[in-house]
C-alpha cells in the first residue's frame, strides 16, 4: 500500500507522565515532498516531529521510516558549547566515514552557504547571536546531505530577510537531492512558501484538525501568490478554530 520511500505514521498516540499530548495521528509524507506541521504552541508539533524522526517511541501506533540519514534542526539550537561553529557542524558529520580534513572543509562550505564566514566559523556558541546559532544548526543538518530533513521552527529566530534566504536554501537543497522535508512551524507564511502539504494540529491532546495542499510548485510561488494563499487559508473555519485558543489566551 505504501510507495517506495514514503514516511508513514498511523494511529500515533503519545502521553507524557499520563497526559495525552498526541491522539491518533495519521500522516504520509512521500519521498521528496515537503510537509508542514502547523499549529499553536503546545499542540504537540515537536513531539510529533521527534516521533517521526525516531527519537521518541510513541505509546501507540506505528511509524515507517524508510530513510537512512535523517537530519534534525531542533527547536533549540543544541550546539556543543565547547566547540566552535565549525566544530559543531563537523560534529554532525562524525557518523559519516570521512577524513577529519574533509569534515572540516564540508563544515566550512556549509557555513558559508548559511551566511557565516571565516570569522564566524571560529566563534564559540556563547559568542553567537540567537539567529547565528540557528543557522549553525541548519548548516549542521544540511552538511550531512540527509535523505530526510526534520525542521522544528528552524527559521523562527531569524529576521525576515534572513529567514526567507534560509527557506530558499532548504528548498533548493531539498529539490536538488530529492530530500523529504517535514517542517514544524507556527508561521503560516513559512508553510505556504515551502510546503506541498500542510497538516494542522490543534487541541489538547493534539489531533489533526485539517489538511491542506498547496498545489503551485514552490519555486513558482511569488509574494502575491503567498499573500493570497495566506488570506485564503486564514479564512478557513478549521484554521480559525485551531488557532483560537491561543488568541484568546
Amino acid at each position: 500500500m505504501s510507495e517506495e520511500g514514503t514516511l508513514v505514521a498511523s494511529g500515533v498516540t503519545h502521553s507524557f507522565a499520563g497526559t495525552k499530548v498526541l491522539d491518533g495521528i495519521d500522516l504520509r509524507v512521500s519521498r521528496g515532498s515537503v510537509v508542514a506541521i502547523l499549529g499553536p504552541s503546545g499542540s504537540g508539533k515537536t513531539t510529533l516531529l521527534h516521533i517521526l524522526g525516531g527519537l521518541l517511541t510513541p505509546d501507540a501506533g506505528r511509524v515507517d521510516r524508510p530513510f537512512e540519514r535523517p537530519a534534525f534542526v531542533f527547536q533549540e539550537p543544541l550546539l556543543l558549547p565547547w566547540r566552535t561553529a565549525r566544530g559543531n557542524v563537523a560534529f554532525g558529520l562524525a557518523g559519516l566515514r570521512l577524513a577529519r580534513s574533509e569534515r572540516l572543509s564540508r563544515a566550512r562550505t556549509m557555513l558559508v552557504k548559511v551566511g557565516l564566514g571565516q570569522d564566524d566559523a571560529v566563534l564559540y556558541p556563547h559568542q553567537l547571536s540567537g539567529g547565528m546559532k540557528k543557522r549553525v544548526a541548519l548548516a549542521r543538518a544540511l552538511a550531512i546531505e540527509p535523505d530526510v530533513l526534520l525542521l522544528d521552527e528552524a527559521f523562527s529566530a531569524l529576521d525576515v530577510g534572513l529567514s526567507r534566504e534560509m527557506q530558499q536554501l532548504v528548498r533548493l537543497d531539498a529539490q536538488e537531492r530529492g530530500v523529504t522535508v517535514v517542517l514544524v512551524t507556527h508561521d503560516l507564511s513559512e508553510a505556504v512558501r515551502l510546503a506541498d502539504r500542510v497538516i494542522v494540529l490543534a487541541g489538547r491532546p493534539g489531533r489533526i484538525a485539517t489538511r491542506l495542499s498547496i498545489d503551485r510548485p514552490a519555486r513558482l510561488r511569488d509574494d502575491a501568490f503567498v499573500e493570497a494563499e495566506i488570506r485564503r487559508i486564514a479564512a478557513l473555519e478549521a484554521i480559525r478554530d485551531a488557532f483560537r485558543p491561543t488568541l484568546s489566551g
Binding site: 527519537l55 540519514r69 537530519a71 534534525f72 533549540e76 543544541l78 558549547p81 562524525a94
Partner: protein, 263 residues
C-alpha cells in the same frame, strides 16, 4: 600557557599572593623568636636543613619515592573513580549499588586505610599506593557521577539524532562537561594523595618523604622536619602548576563568559 597566568597575576593578584606568603613567613619568624629553635626553627634554619638534606643525597630518592607512591595511587583512583562514576551516572542500578559503597569508603579515616594496607601488603611499596587509591578514589567517583548525571539531555538527543558513534559521543558530548566537575575534584584528590602517601610511608618505613619525617622525628630534629614539610608542599604546588592548571586552562576557553561561569 603559564605565561598567560603570570601576566594576569602581575595585574595585582600576584602582589596580594606575595603579601600573603610574606605574612606567613613573618609569623613563622616571630614564632621562632618567641618559642625558640626547638619548637619552631627559623625559616632560614629550615632552608639550611633542606640544603643539608640535598647534600647528603637523601632528598632526591625520597622525592622520587613519594612522587611514585602519590601519583600511582592518584592515577589508579582517577581511572577507577571516573570509569565507575561515569557508569554510575548513566545507570540508576549501578549508581544505587555504588553510591553507598563510596560513602562508606569516604567515611573510613585515611590513617585506617594506611594501617590496613600495611597489614595486607606488608612492607612492599604497594601499601602506600593502595592507601592513596582507596582514600582518594571515592572523591573522584562522586565528582564523576555528578558530572555525568548533569550532561545536557538535549545535547545527548542531538548526538543520537545525528547517529554519532559511541567514541565521539563520549569525547565530544560527555567528557567536556564531566571534566568541568572532575577537574576541581582532581585538584583536591591530588593534594590528598600526597598527604596519604606521606602518612603511609611514615608508618611503613619503606622510604620516601614520610620515612624521612619519621627519621627526623626519631632524631628530634625539628628543622629537618620542617624541611621535609616544605618539600611536600613544593612538590604539590609544582604538580598542580604543571599538570592540573594547564588542563584546566585548556578546557576553560569555551567556558569563558558562559552564563553562571564567572569569567
Amino acid at each position: 600557557m603559564p605565561r598567560i597566568s603570570w601576566r594576569r597575576l602581575a595585574g595585582g593578584e600576584r602582589r596580594w599572593a606575595v603579601l600573603g606568603l610574606g605574612a606567613v613567613i613573618a609569623l613563622w619568624e616571630i614564632g621562632h623568636r618567641v618559642y625558640g629553635d626547638f619548637v619552631l626553627p627559623s625559616p632560614l634554619a629550615t632552608i639550611a636543613a633542606l640544603g643539608r638534606l640535598g647534600a647528603s643525597g637523601d632528598l632526591w630518592p625520597a622525592v622520587v619515592t613519594t612522587a611514585r607512591d602519590a601519583l600511582s595511587g592518584f592515577l589508579a583512583a582517577t581511572l577507577a573513580g571516573s570509569l565507575l562514576g561515569g557508569l554510575a551516572g548513566r545507570s540508576t542500578p549501578i549508581r544505587a549499588m555504588l553510591q553507598p559503597i563510596a560513602t562508606l569508603l569516604i567515611g573510613v579515616p585515611a590513617i585506617a586505610w594506611v594501617v590496613l594496607s600495611l597489614l595486607w601488603f606488608g612492607g612492599s611499596g604497594l601499601a602506600a599506593t593502595f592507601s592513596v587509591a582507596i582514600a582518594v578514589g571515592p572523591v573522584v567517583f562522586a565528582a564523576a557521577v555528578q558530572g555525568t548525571r548533569t550532561v545536557d539531555g538535549g545535547l545527548r538527543t542531538m548526538a543520537r539524532a545525528f547517529r554519532v558513534p559511541f567514541g565521539a559521543m563520549i569525547v565530544d558530548v560527555y567528557l567536556p562537561h564531566v571534566l568541568s566537575y572532575l577537574l576541581p575534584a582532581l585538584g583536591t584528590a591530588l593534594a590528598m594523595s600526597w598527604k596519604v602517601a606521606v602518612m603511609a610511608e611514615l608508618l611503613s618505613g619503606t622510604g620516601g618523604i614520610g620515612d624521612g619525617l619519621a627519621a627526623a622525628r626519631a632524631e628530634v630534629d625539628t628543622a629537618k622536619t620542617m624541611a621535609w614539610v616544605v618539600v611536600v608542599v613544593a612538590l604539590l604546588l609544582i604538580v598542580e602548576r604543571l599538570v592540573i592548571e594547564p588542563v584546566r586552562r585548556y578546557f576553560e576557553t569555551w567556558r569563558h563568559g558562559l552564563p553562571g561561569e564567572a569569567a
